[in-house]
């Protein structure tokens, strides 16, 4: 095989040719995938809203408005309505207290602030540890520990003589109201079990929930009476 000599014009020409072909094909692929990428981002947002505030019949994305939190984060609020009446809001909340980088959470609140459900949108926590936040704070039934796996678990428990306290509800935050429950990890004097070996992630996650709740209630007229309650609650934290 005869290679072209490494003269300057040859080299320059070759590199120009290769980079222009590469640039051209990338531009083409970018154009082709732009719409699907945007569509998948919208679909992800839609499915997160449906999960955290089920049962609405309006288009929450169309009625979306933004709120500024005390920390300076911009939160997106998606009002969910049925027959014109507000049944809850999905709030895209975030925190910068994650183990590595920001954590973005979509949290669904009833109009009074009770947590309906949540969905983790974006994070860079440790795989296998911090990532447990996806369903750690949901009721135990949600993590699939029933049926066959439950039987295997029972066997292992007997084998090692360990008693599981799966029955208690201390991991779950769904159905609780941050205004009345102290949603902090137990290490910080709260009532929520931290994720095993990922306390920082658990703290950060609860902070994102708190940001959503505080910002939303403080910006809602109906919650003016609740505001004092929140201030008290924040006072407890310090």
């Amino acid at each position: 095989m005869s290679k072209r000599a490494s003269t300057l014009p040859n080299m320059v020409l070759t590199l120009i040719l290769i980079t222009s072909v590469a640039g051209g094909s990338l531009g083409f692929i970018y154009q082709a995938t732009k719409a699907p990428i945007e569509a998948s981002a919208v679909a992800k947002q839609q499915s997160a809203i449906k999960l955290v505030v089920p049962g609405f019949d309006n288009d929450p994305a169309a009625e979306m408005y933004e709120l500024q939190s005390a920390e300076g984060f911009t939160l997106k609020v998606f009002p969910a309505k049925r027959d014109g009446e507000l049944i809850g809001v999905a709030i895209e909340s975030m925190t910068n207290r994650g183990f590595s980088g920001d954590i973005k959470v979509m949290v669904g609140l009833e109009p009074d602030g009770t947590i309906i459900n949540y969905e983790v949108l974006e994070h860079r926590e440790t795989p296998g540890l911090g990532t447990k936040m996806y369903d750690w704070f949901k009721p135990a039934d949600d993590d699939g520990a029933d049926g066959e796996v439950g039987a295997v678990r029972a066997f292992f428990d007997r084998l090692f003589g360990i008693s599981q306290d799966d029955g208690d509800d201390s991991k779950n935050i769904l159905g609780k109201n941050p205004g009345t429950s102290t949603l902090l990890v137990k290490q910080d004097g709260g009532e929520v079990d931290a994720i095993t070996a990922a306390t920082i992630t658990a703290r950060a996650f609860l902070h994102a929930i708190e940001v959503a709740y505080t910002t939303y209630t403080q910006n809602t007229d109906a919650a003016s009476s609740a505001t004092t309650q929140i201030e008290n609650w924040e006072g407890d934290e310090q």
Partner: protein
């Protein structure tokens, strides 16, 4: 060269991860589960095959002194294409692999095959070499990911095998990747010797 040999050498005799010890950064980084390992392996396989095809086609036109930059541009182009296509059509996998996709560019396995094989061999051999090496890489990553997932969180391909509470946490974390890889290399060396 015998094409069957050319293909199968990537799995055992010259497995990129276990024998050549190439591409260890993604091998250690993404293998927290078998699915992640497989996804990363297949993405790398695609890049490897495409880069081998292009490099073997253009090898005659490239002056020797600029061959490395040319290869890198070719590889980076295909990696970016993989990244955009994956984000558009398999967002779940893109979320899991995210950071590691751009790193395929600097995976020395890809450049290594372009430089050591595709720039010296014809198109057919290069495609087969790329596919064999890529699938061998995928196999290694899936094995390591499966081992870590099984020992660390009691699951295999997302299916619960035993309760997660009895998993060894270390295998989920980075040190477990090194330990697991060490044992897999030892086992494969023993098998190769026999």
């Amino acid at each position: 060269m015998n094409q069957l040999n050319n293909f199968t050498k990537g799995f055992f005799k010259e497995n990129p991860v276990f024998i050549l010890l190439l591409g260890l950064c993604p091998a250690l980084g993404v293998t927290s589960s078998a699915v992640n390992g497989l996804g990363m392996g297949l993405a790398t396989t695609f890049v490897l095959v495409m880069a081998n095809i292009v490099v073997s086609l253009i090898k005659g036109f490239i002056p020797d002194k600029v061959r490395i930059p040319s290869f890198i541009v070719v590889i980076a182009t295909f990696v970016t294409i993989v990244e955009m296509v994956m984000e558009a059509y398999i967002p779940a996998l893109f979320d899991a692999l995210g950071l590691f996709i751009p790193l395929i560019v600097v995976n020395c396995l890809v450049l290594g095959r372009a430089e050591a094989f595709a720039s010296k061999n014809n198109l057919i051999s290069s495609v087969i070499d790329g596919a064999g090496m890529g699938l061998g890489f995928s196999m290694a990553l899936t094995m390591l990911g499966g081992l870590r997932e099984l020992l660390g969180s009691g699951m295999l391909f997302g299916l619960s095998i035993y309760p997660e509470d009895y998993g060894m946490l270390v295998f989920v974390l980075a040190p477990g990747a090194f330990i697991g890889l060490g044992y897999l290399i030892a086992i494969l060396n023993r098998v190769n010797k026999a």
